[in-house]
């Protein structure tokens, strides 16, 4: 392998891995059991996993069709649409949280109507956590799936059309299976981003143990009082998310490596 690639690659690995090493070195292993058994840790972890998974499902439901529109439609507004999709990527998450208030909050455009008509208020609920995470994480899925759709051979869709498949059937039976690996990759990115989401969540959903306090929020607050506890929680979150991703990867590869 050529050195101009190998050296930066090695530096890149160190750059990404060393903070992790730092975290592990500083982990107070002797207190690990006590810290993990602390009330609220299991609750926060469970809430994190559940809300990140729900956010990923919601992102799939909305994001895959959106990616299709971006990749396949020839509408003139597509450039604007793509810019809109990437907004949550560049928006500071806290600002995203405030923006969600302005729409879905009690005083928000949609939120006030929901409150008046159905008595539904979203902020400070687990629903708000899922919405905040979806807002921040869905663009990762959309961009990933759009890339897969663009890379996929569109002639397969032509073939399907000549075989009597309407656009919806073509999408369901040809396009979707073809880009399945891209969707899986996007879903993983989306889930990981949702799991680590902090800013939009703490702003829009608030922070209350059991309903809205996810692991990143717990870590942040622990950091204010007891950095050791924060490190333990971080390592726990890291371990669980890595284990989940590796497990899923094995499943996918085991299923015949559609990629």
């Amino acid at each position: 392998m050529p050195a101009p690639l190998l050296v930066p690659a090695a530096i890149g690995v160190l750059f990404l891995a060393l903070p992790l090493v730092g975290l592990l070195v500083r982990t107070p292993w002797s207190q690990l059991a006590t810290q993990l058994a602390a009330p609220g840790v299991g609750q926060a972890l469970r809430l994190s996993l559940v809300s990140a998974t729900l956010a990923t499902l919601l992102s799939l439901l909305l994001g895959v069709p959106l990616a299709w529109v971006l990749a396949r439609s020839r509408t003139r507004g597509r450039t604007v649409l793509r810019a809109l999709v990437t907004v949550p990527l560049v928006l500071p998450p806290v600002v995203g949280g405030v923006a969600l208030f302005l729409v879905l909050g009690r005083q928000g455009i949609v939120g006030s109507w929901l409150d008046d008509a159905f008595g539904i208020t979203i902020p400070f609920t687990t629903t708000a956590v899922v919405i905040a995470e979806t807002f921040v994480a869905m663009p990762f899925l959309v961009i990933s799936v759009e890339g897969a759709l663009r890379a996929a051979d569109a002639r397969f869709e032509d073939v399907a059309a000549t075989l009597g498949a309407g656009r919806w059937t073509t999408f369901r039976r040809v396009t979707l299976p073809l880009v399945a690996p891209g969707i899986a990759a996007g879903a993983v990115l989306c889930w990981a981003r949702a799991l680590g989401e902090f800013g939009a969540t703490i702003t829009f959903a608030g922070n209350f143990p059991g309903t809205t306090q996810t692991m990143p929020l717990a870590v942040y607050l622990a950091l204010q009082r007891d950095p050791d506890a924060a490190i333990v929680l971080s390592v726990l979150l890291l371990a669980v998310s890595l284990a989940t991703l590796l497990l899923l990867r094995d499943r996918w590869l085991g299923r015949g490596g559609a990629a």
Partner: protein
Amino acid sequence: MVPRMRIDRRVLAGLAAAALVAGCGSSEGADVPDDAVSGTLTVFAAASLTEVFTALGGRLEDANPALQVQFSFAGSSALATQISQGAPADVFASANEAQMAVVTDADLAEGETQVFTRNVLQIAVPAGNPAGISGLADFAREEPALAVCAAEVPCGAAAEDVFAAAGVTARPDTLEEDVRAALTKVELGEVDAALVYASDVAAAGDAVEGIAFPEAEQAVNDYPVCVLADAPNPAAARAFVDLVLSGEGRRLLTDAGFRAP
């Protein structure tokens, strides 16, 4: 990464002037030391001090044309952590004694720390008080949406103290990571009340109303300031701390909702 705020003179000159008029009558520059200081001054200060310190920095720059004042406003604990990790700051102003202790315990403060102001809790409600909040007892009710700071941060610790003093079992909907986040939710009307500092209510302007309550006296927060031992510009640091402690600084703080020590 420490967010730095470079003072925009045009905006702040106006702010400072307004503050001076309100502070009534002191002849300009009376409290500024005669010895001119120069270079760059870096001040780490609790987020609640943003408006007052920015104005004071403008005053100091006006009196010392060769001086540039930079601020890093953030939560006191974040600032204390950054200072102990070697951040090149000249002055540290904390929102409580505990975070100042992190700095002094590490021998990073030059000389004595001085309490320059105090802050007490108030109940912040959206303009017009739509939920009809009247006192601390309302925090025990189920219906209103309520925000209190998390126990891990200073305003949350103070809140626990006043609730204990009042014998109220609070039922908040969210435990905020800092006082500004709690205030933002009041400003947006997303919570009916939040327990924040009087200075925050003053800073929020017309969007927020403050309700004082007697139990607040149980949790008065002291704000200490110090020149840091490794200050790159100790002379300017001293000048800034003197300005903060001066009658001028005190007036600005009082106008901003703080209480004299």
